[in-house]
């Protein structure tokens, strides 16, 4: 074998080079996958430093909680309590603005979690006008800010009382805080500068501020220091880091009721539990009631609300509190008696009680009708005035329970007021309606309720998603009130989970490294993208090896003639091929590294839109070269085996005569290709009809099915016609003899010709079909069925907007002029609730674990629009599928078809899991998959489900608007300017769609580039086939020379033959590709990018023709005469 290898070294070298190319591309694709994973892993580790876990609070928590946790855990961890806010930044001088800025109120502990990070120069710095802020490069670059520059940060001020309640509402703009700071330094985006809690390759824009300063800006001077993020770094490797459940248990043991937002007040006989959020959330209420039952305490549930008026006849009392409660079941809860001394009755839902003062003021008697007027808060912060008329069931004495001021929790804006005229409540108050007697009542009883309704009625009228109780009063069953309070303080943290307390542990490093495995398998992706390159290289190997064997036909024939079995000869040749494959593949490993490096360089430069950020660098996994080498050797060996398989069928005599692969040509043997061509043409037509009939014109399955059928039909048709029309026609060479002869020559070795055409056609098919699917990104966004749903603007805010932007008074509060408000009224501005999370579009390389979720309002669902790729049920109103729950804990959801399929690895009818605010697992089942559009980064659920599972997420952060195309820029500028404090960032939907399309188009371009390389390799193979054909036919060509054919005539004839193969391949592939894209093109109104397509195919044909011309010219220049000699 060694001698054979050496003797035929030229042929073998070519085979080994082919194997090396196949290995380089195949292993290179695997290395690209390694590199993506490795780069994302490096990025994750770099950004997190030594941080392993984060404790994240929905609401700020006590800063000292971290120290308590550390002590409980044994003090062997580093931690950094941090106040993290989302916001925006504006450059003081240039007014350059950056949205989606992460503002970190950091203590000195934070930098210590990054071994190489310097101390952050935050706080007062010499030479700076304002306190210092440290920016990372990304933010500094976006603002064009340098040290010493002035920067204004805007951020949401967290509120203890939910903003979407009557008592928590604020003026539209009052939820935003600002800090004016001087840039004290700019730090790199690596390490601490790149700190980012959610996986994503995009560089975060971070602003580091002195923690105490940010706390003062958010909570006010003198407030207890609170944070909303605790970063924890554990000693040892990641495996030793405690799990979230274990940490939650530990945290539960160090938490006090105050950490849960609960206030326990102990009186002489009773205990009152209230919330610093004004209402007790359902979990807290449940925990308190359970603890009470366990302690055999008697509970009384109270819901106190605000009545704007109590009326009886023509008398009215303005602005009173009113409590919904049932009479106390235990004397310790306080006496609740009527003026006649009898116990107050249990009220029916149409009854109420007034206290003596109110009854006298209204002149009301039992049995009278009393109208209670109150505010109801709408979904967009609208105030509706409602009223209910109830029958006066009795008048209670102001004593005992009815004199207990704790029935009304601390009412924002009222509690500290000396008199009613200095009230500053979060809702409108007509101070003119206040009478002297009202001031007297205020002086005497403050906000003591004047009326009482049944607990059930109060819940029905005034409950919100944040809770239905303002306090729970408890009387001890045994022991003292103080003992009961002590038991409650000990038990409540255990009865409420960490999540129910609005806290959650996130395994940042563990989850980050998991996410770094990537949403997309880049190994598979680049294997797919490089498919034609690999296939071409492998086919080339097969071709070269086969040609080598054909050259040695006599040698093989001789071995067979002297008694070697065909199998033995084949094995020997396979072993030779194996050595070549092994050596070639070994050499190809170097090329693989280069190929991967080249692809990554491409992803950092030419193909950057595919990944967004140049974060990918070469990483070679230890097993990858071995896997690549083995896979390549197996593929090449399989190809060689397939090549050798036919050798056994050729007789020894024919081999001895030098014919190893010559297909003798006889007429009338081409029925089967014709049948195949007809059958597949019919199948393609049937699929086309089915695509139109089912409306699935954009389905890639149909498209490629149709295309593949036409491709097979085309190649079979070529096989049928190859070598000219069959039959008894004696002289088919009339007319243009050279072209006719070229055409007939393609039948000289039909197998090779058909293989060449199939290779070129397949490559062209994919290139054309993929290119036709590319589209230009100029879709008509104003069309409701388009990917933009008829909206021309998409916007996001850093700070949620609670107030409805459709209300004139809100717009006035926010600084819109009347003219601007009028213009805004003309357009549809649709808000969505947003649960921040990870981008699920192809723009995110990481595997998203917590997707961004949009809550779709009923108005938006009623409006509809957009197109669906798939829906669970055919419906004229697919958006209605979002309503309700499918099963308990299973929510209907929409997602973008491609994002769901490729990034979330899910599909229609399948589910993804999400943890809700209470730590429960919620399943989102996809009932509709949207066609390509602006919802590629998010998952959509109904607003009702959103609020049910994420009740503390207040306001709207995501918007769609439909100004006419000629007013898009103007409207965007107006909204961005007036809503600057919210970080309102508007983008034309066309631009957003183009950004998504750019990713897709970049992958297509990558595929086409690599496919193009494959095609070029295919044309090289075609050239080799041609050369081989010419060499095999030297005698015939010499004969033609003898009969007067000129060298140039022969060259033209051979080139014509090659051109026919090339054009047939390109033609069949192009037609099949266009046919595959036809339904999509006709349905989407998109046009074929004829120019780029034409140029691509032209280059392919030109390169193929050039290669073949050079090859033929070179071959024919060598003397042919020797082939004619008889000896």
């Amino acid at each position: 074998m060694r001698r054979s290898l050496l003797y035929y070294w030229r042929t073998h070298l070519a085979v080994a080079v082919g194997a090396a190319v196949a290995t380089a591309v195949l292993t290179g694709a695997l290395i690209v996958g390694d590199s993506v994973r490795g780069s994302l892993r490096d990025l994750t580790l770099d950004r997190l430093g030594e941080i392993d876990v984060a404790l994240v609070g929905e609401r700020p928590f006590r800063q000292g909680l971290g120290a308590d946790l550390e002590a409980e855990l044994g003090g062997e961890l580093d931690l950094a309590p941090t106040l993290l806010l989302s916001g925006s930044a504006v450059h003081g001088a240039s007014r350059a603005r950056a949205s989606r800025v992460t503002i970190l109120g950091a203590g000195p502990e934070l930098a210590r979690l990054y071994p190489e990070a310097p101390e952050l120069p935050v706080g007062r710095q010499p030479g700076l006008l304002f306190p210092s802020v440290v920016l990372n490069e990304a933010l500094a670059g976006e603002l064009g800010a340098a040290p010493g520059d002035e920067v204004l940060l805007s951020f949401e001020i967290p509120s203890d009382v939910p903003r979407e309640t009557l008592v928590g509402r604020e003026e539209a703009g009052a939820t935003v805080g600002t800090l004016r700071l001087s840039v004290g330094g700019v730090i790199p985006d690596r390490g601490l500068g790149g700190l980012r809690l959610t996986p994503g390759q995009a560089r975060p824009m971070n602003a580091f501020v002195e923690r105490e300063r940010l706390q003062r800006a958010v909570f006010g001077r003198g407030a207890d220091p609170r944070v909303n993020l605790l970063l924890l770094a554990f000693p040892g490797d990641l495996g030793a880091t405690p799990g979230s459940a274990e940490l939650a248990d530990t945290l539960g043991s160090v938490m006090a009721p105050a950490d849960l937002g609960l206030e326990i007040t102990t009186g002489a006989e009773r205990v009152v539990v209230e919330s610093d959020r004004f209402v007790l959330d359902p979990a807290a209420s449940r925990a308190v009631l359970e603890a009470a039952r366990a302690s055999r305490a008697t509970a009384q549930e109270v819901l106190t609300y605000f009545a704007t008026a109590l009326r009886s006849g023509d008398r009215s009392i303005p602005y009173s509190t009113i409590s919904a409660l049932d009479p106390p079941a235990a004397p310790a809860l306080g006496a609740f008696r009527l003026v006649d001394g009898s116990p107050a009755p249990r009220l029916a839902e149409d009854e109420l009680l007034l206290n003596r003062w109110a009854a006298e003021d209204l002149g009301a008697r039992p049995g009278d009708e009393i109208e209670v007027e109150y505010y109801e808060l709408g979904a967009r912060d609208e105030l509706f005035t409602r009223s209910v008329t109830l029958r006066l069931a009795g008048v209670v004495e102001i004593e005992g329970l009815a004199a207990d001021p704790r029935l009304t929790p601390e009412f924002p804006g009222l509690e500290d007021a000396q008199d009613i005229s200095s009230w500053d409540p979060p809702f409108p108050v007509d101070l003119d309606a206040i009478r002297g007697v009202d001031e007297e009542y205020w002086d005497a009883y403050r906000s003591l309720p004047k009326a009482y309704v049944a607990a059930s009625l109060g819940r029905r009228l005034w409950k919100s998603r944040f809770g239905d109780l303002t306090s729970i009063r408890l009387a001890p069953g045994e022991g003292s009130a103080a003992e009961l309070a002590g038991r409650l303080r000990a038990e409540l943290p255990r009865r409420l989970s960490v999540e129910e307390a609005g806290l959650a542990f996130r395994q940042l490093k563990r989850d980050g490294l998991e996410a770094a495995r990537g949403a997309t398998d880049f190994s598979g992706l680049f294997l797919g993208l490089s498919f034609f390159l690999i296939a071409s290289a492998v086919l080339l190997v097969g071709l070269l090896f086969r040609l080598g064997i054909e050259r040695r036909a006599r040698e093989v024939g001789l071995l067979r003639a002297v008694g070697y079995r065909a199998r033995t000869v084949r094995r020997s040749l396979l072993a030779e091929g194996g050595v070549l494959a092994a050596l070639g593949a070994l050499a190809g490993l170097g090329g693989a590294v280069f190929y991967a490096w080249l692809m990554l360089a491409g992803l950092r430069t030419w193909w950057l839109p595919a990944v967004g950020t140049p974060v990918l660098f070469l990483h070679v996994g230890p097993a990858t070269p071995v896997i690549g080498w083995v896979a390549s050797v197996l593929v090449v060996l399989a190809t060689i085996w397939w090549t050798l398989r036919r050798l056994g069928r050729v007789s020894a005599a024919r081999l001895l005569a030098g014919a190893a692969g010559l297909d003798e040509i006889a007429a009338g043997r081409r029925r089967r290709p014709l049948l195949v061509a007809v059958a597949f043409s019919l199948l393609a037509a049937a699929l086309l009809a089915a695509a139109f009939a089912t409306g699935e014109t954009s389905s890639p399955g149909f498209a490629f099915g149709i295309g593949a059928c036409l491709l097979i039909a085309g190649v079979a048709g070529f096989a049928h016609l190859c070598g000219g029309p069959p039959g008894a026609r004696a002289n088919g060479l009339r007319g243009a003899p050279l072209v006719s002869m070229g055409a007939r020559n393609t039948g000289r070795n039909r197998g090779r010709s058909v293989l060449s055409v199939a290779l070129v056609a397949s490559a062209c098919f994919l290139i054309v079909a993929v290119d036709a699917f590319r589209g230009g990104g100029e879709a008509e966004v104003t069309d409701r069925a388009s990917g933009a749903g008829g909206f021309t603007l998409v916007a996001e805010t850093d700070v949620p907007v609670v107030a409805g932007l459709d209300r004139p008074e809100t717009l006035r509060e926010l600084g819109f002029s009347d003219d601007e408000a009028a213009r805004l009224a003309e357009i549809d501005l649709v808000p969505f609730r947003l649960l921040p999370g990870e981008d699920v579009s192809c723009l995110n390389l990481f595997r998203p674990e917590r997707p961004r979720v949009l809550g779709v309002t009923p108005e938006m669902r009623a409006r509809g629009g957009f197109s669906f790729q798939q829906v669970a049920e055919k419906s004229p109103d697919p958006w209605s599928l979002l309503a309700g729950e499918l099963e308990p804990g299973v929510l209907p959801a929409f997602g973008d078809f491609n994002s769901v399929l490729w990034i979330l690895h899910s599909g229609l009818g399948q589910e993804i899991s999400l943890e809700n605010e209470r730590g429960e697992t919620v399943r989102l089942r996809f009932v509709g998959l949207l066609a390509k559009g602006i919802f590629q980064s998010e998952v959509l659920i109904s607003e009702e489900n959103f609020l049910a599972h994420f009740p503390s997420r207040t306001g709207y952060s995501w918007f769609l608007a439909d100004p006419p195309l000629n007013r898009v820029e103007e409207t965007a500028a107006m909204l961005e300017s007036r809503l600057e404090r919210f970080g309102f960032d508007a983008t034309p939907t066309a631009e957003r769609l183009s950004a998504f399309k750019a990713v897709e188009n970049t992958y297509i371009a990558t595929f086409q580039t690599l496919g193009g390389f494959g095609l070029l390799l295919g044309t090289l193979g075609l050239g080799i086939v041609l050369l081989r054909n010419v060499l095999e036919r030297r005698g015939e060509l010499a004969m033609l020379r003898a009969f007067g054919y000129r060298r140039s005539t022969l060259a033209r004839m051979v080139v014509a033959e090659n051109a026919i193969l090339l054009l047939a391949g390109v033609g069949i592939g192009a037609v099949a590709g266009l046919a595959a894209a036809a339904p999509h093109l006709s349905a989407g109104g998109e046009t074929v990018p004829w120019l780029s397509l034409g140029l691509t195919l032209l280059v392919v044909v030109a390169v193929g023709m050039l290669a073949s011309t050079l090859a033929v010219a070179g071959t024919l220049r060598t003397p042919l005469l020797g082939a004619l000699k008889a000896e």
């Binding site: 007429a667 002289n731 060479l733 003899p737 015939e1036 003898a1042 007067g1044 004619l1124 000699k1125």
Partner: protein, 230 residues
């Protein structure tokens, strides 16, 4: 010297084989009048095929001259030389070199297709090709492919192809070398018969003494010189 025959004068041809120079023809003279035929024999490697190639203008002599029908073809520029060869010279080789993708009739017509300006000759050529195939006994096999013919039939088709342009010089290089005895005899009969009717010059190079014996003029090529056997 015949005005319209073949005249070879002092043909010298040598080849470089590695560093060695091999003198194949050392001065060959030959003169054949129209209608004459000559059989050339000689040992392997004696230069028989080389002589035929020079006579057929496939190769140029190092020295000496070739005149066909009184013309010096090597004085013609390459394109005209190709046309000259196409019109005036016919070849029959040991291997038939029929193109497997063409029918028998098309194979015979191949020499007529070398130049595009055939004009009205196209139909006449085809009619003549059909007649030639009739005469070689393949009139019923016009639409068959070479793979469907026997060895003798293929060679007969090759003979018809050589004659399709009515050449004044027919050169046959071992025309029966690949055939069995019966087929060889049939092809020899055919060559002699067709030549007799055509009035052209024919040279047959052969190892076969039987075939050579059927020619009135015979010559032996040895040591680079042609010696006519009388």
């Amino acid at each position: 010297m015949s005005e319209s025959g073949l005249e070879l004068r002092g043909l010298v041809k040598s080849f470089e084989l590695g560093r060695e120079r091999v003198d194949v023809l050392r001065g060959v003279d030959l003169e054949l009048a129209p209608g004459e035929a000559l059989a050339i024999t000689g040992p392997s490697g004696s230069g028989k095929s080389t002589l035929l190639h020079l006579a057929g203008t496939l190769d140029r002599p190092d020295e000496g001259s070739v005149r066909i029908g009184g013309e010096d073809p090597f004085a013609l520029p390459e394109p005209r030389l190709a046309r000259f060869r196409n019109r005036r010279v016919g070849f029959v080789f040991q291997d038939h070199y029929l193109l497997p993708q063409y029918t028998v009739l098309e194979n015979v017509l191949i020499p007529t297709l070398a130049f595009a300006d055939r004009g009205d000759d196209e139909r006449r050529d085809e009619s003549w090709a059909r007649e030639l195939l009739d005469r070689v006994g393949l009139g019923g096999r016009l639409a068959h492919r070479p793979a469907e013919l026997s060895g003798g039939e293929r060679q007969r088709a090759a003979v018809a192809r050589a004659l399709v342009n009515r050449p004044s010089l027919l050169l046959c290089d071992e025309p029966t070398g690949n055939l069995d005895e019966a087929s060889a005899a049939a092809v020899a009969d055919l060559l002699i018969e067709l030549h007799a009717g055509a009035g052209s010059v024919m040279i047959v190079v052969t190892h076969s003494l039987d075939l050579a014996g059927r020619f009135a003029r015979r010559a032996r090529l040895a040591a680079g010189r042609l010696v006519e056997e009388r």
